[in-house]
Symmetry: C2
Subunit: 405 residues, 2 copies
Amino acid sequence: MVAPLNLQDRTLSLAEARVLALLRQSGPQSRAELAEHLRYSRANITAVIKNLLARGIIEKLGLGESQGGRRPRLYGINGRLGYVAGVDIGATSLDLALAGFDGVILERLAEPADVHEQPQILLGRAAGAIERMIEQHGGSAEQVLAIGIGVPGPVQFDEGVLVAPPLMPAWESFSIREFMSQRFSAANITVDNDVNVMAIGESYAGAGKGIANFLFLKIGTGIGCGIICQDQIYRGCDGAAGDVGHICIDYNGPVCHCGNAGCLEIMAAGPAIAARGLGAAVSGESEQLAAALAANNGVMTAQMVGDAAKAGDRAANEIVKSSGRMIGGMLAGLVNFFNPQLILIGGGVSNIGIRLLSAIRQAVLRRSTALSTRHLRIEFSPLGKDAGVIGAIWLALEHVFTIEA
Amino acid sequence: MVAPLNLQDRTLSLAEARVLALLRQSGPQSRAELAEHLRYSRANITAVIKNLLARGIIEKLGLGESQGGRRPRLYGINGRLGYVAGVDIGATSLDLALAGFDGVILERLAEPADVHEQPQILLGRAAGAIERMIEQHGGSAEQVLAIGIGVPGPVQFDEGVLVAPPLMPAWESFSIREFMSQRFSAANITVDNDVNVMAIGESYAGAGKGIANFLFLKIGTGIGCGIICQDQIYRGCDGAAGDVGHICIDYNGPVCHCGNAGCLEIMAAGPAIAARGLGAAVSGESEQLAAALAANNGVMTAQMVGDAAKAGDRAANEIVKSSGRMIGGMLAGLVNFFNPQLILIGGGVSNIGIRLLSAIRQAVLRRSTALSTRHLRIEFSPLGKDAGVIGAIWLALEHVFTIEA
């Protein structure tokens, strides 16, 4: 690594930011290619490149293909400018990654964790792990330029604090940013909702690459949605956008923990699938689920229902399809409203597989307008359980610099 | 008017476009104010102003308030650069406006029209009316820089053509742009869905001014939604965004003209209100509606139901409230997803008034998450039936120039 970038020197002009974004997106480019893509004059591009080179943000690479004349010099992101770290806090897991400034992941770490712990303890553990990963690379904590952190709860983005998080009440109003800054003095700390972070991961490094408008739906204990709108994560006016688990799908449905009746989440997410699987096991409707229940000490999970469905169990299959229909029915409304090009399905429950996806697709196609589904694809998240930590790296990279005008 | 701006000279640099946008938004500014707001250097601003002045796009105005030293020169949009026209085509009406390049409306015209007419006839009439309005101002058709057109149907925005429009089948694939260009050779022609145009009107000149994320819901014969996202109109991947009238609110509901059951539109829009009003009149449930029906030659309208509700009729009131509850229930889902700061309600059915609005508000507050309604306001559109034609003017102004990187 080169000398650490001064924290006071964290601004880019709009032109510099656009060159950096293009190099991230499309890889090494020549001066002429940059000028053409960004429609800047050669003189303008030359000045921008000079500045970025002087600050060590980009570097000279080898020569590119000749376009008729001399082979042109290529420029690329300087991965050795510093480190960025990604932290993905799940309900029961802590996922960490260390990357260079070019986004290339250098180290990964995953360990069990309990989100009910005090934030000081959990974040202290994360900070320690990041420090150890850096040490292994011969670096130091001051070389961390930015840290992105995904948390399973609603986040007030500008402040980097959680707001009334049902899973982690001890974190309410705790300044994650302040805590982490004490350990990483040169790092910009950015905190976001886990689903937003996953959507960012897919946008930069997954199936959302190059797609301006798409949704990332996480189905687990709850159901949430990350929204990429015009190539940017969209957080809404209070940072509450994407809270689709509490969209009502049945006014006469069961009461949700939020106090309303018939929320999608209470009717179709993991616990609902498990509860209906338990019912089918206990009632004798499914011998296979009854056997699975007995083998798992009387605990039923959504995954067990999915496995039984895969093995051909009729009752389990109907439970999975019913959940998919409910989720797809809600998504059909979002498709009419938002007209996305892609919907990615992730989260633990997505491991149930193709039966669930198929039911979701059918419900969306049946209930959306023809025009809004013309180019729509609905797929499982290709990054899967890595979407969070990869997204946290890119969230961090988005916030290394402040852009001036 | 000055000499018409050459159509070949219709590009702005990004910096020029940002200066122009700021002058539009905030009115006349000094060089120092522009530099400060846009965080450009004084030298940069001076160069941009010089270019814009030379092309007649902005003009020198008087002197502003002293900030301690000499009183500074102010700059503003040159309204006399040319004309823009706005055309709002409704199912039964044609609304037109002529404005200067500063967006100040010079002439207005509204006349009945039938959207089932051939496009050549209706657009020919609109073109003739624009020409006459310009003549009254001593101008000529070549001085029209841009025309914005709102149409009551789905639009493929890049092409400026309607796609499978249920109300106006004769317009399918008809090139509105080509037709209008023959009459206005120097004008950029932009066509958009009527609800998008209304949202644009509110964004520039109504209650949406300065609000980054808001929705405009039009309730009339159908129900549609214009989406302003990060200060821009959002059209989605196929231009189909905002088609919320076909979101399902009851899987066992009546079949809609789109072929699906229980669409919001078939259950809650104008015709549904009128049909339920007719039912209450005929069944003897409401004497007031029966009297109104007799007085209107056996034809019931949503407005008549609204009037009866206003006059205290119990049955009419319940019909209005029920419609508001259904619309609010759907909006609650959008609020959870999109977390807007404002929802504006417009369209003919909004004339029913406060009873409808109140029912909508109640349903949204009951069914949305607490965080997503923290800053939410739900109001009637202040521009009302003018939102379309005012929005068409601003749609035109947005497309006078092409912005170069």
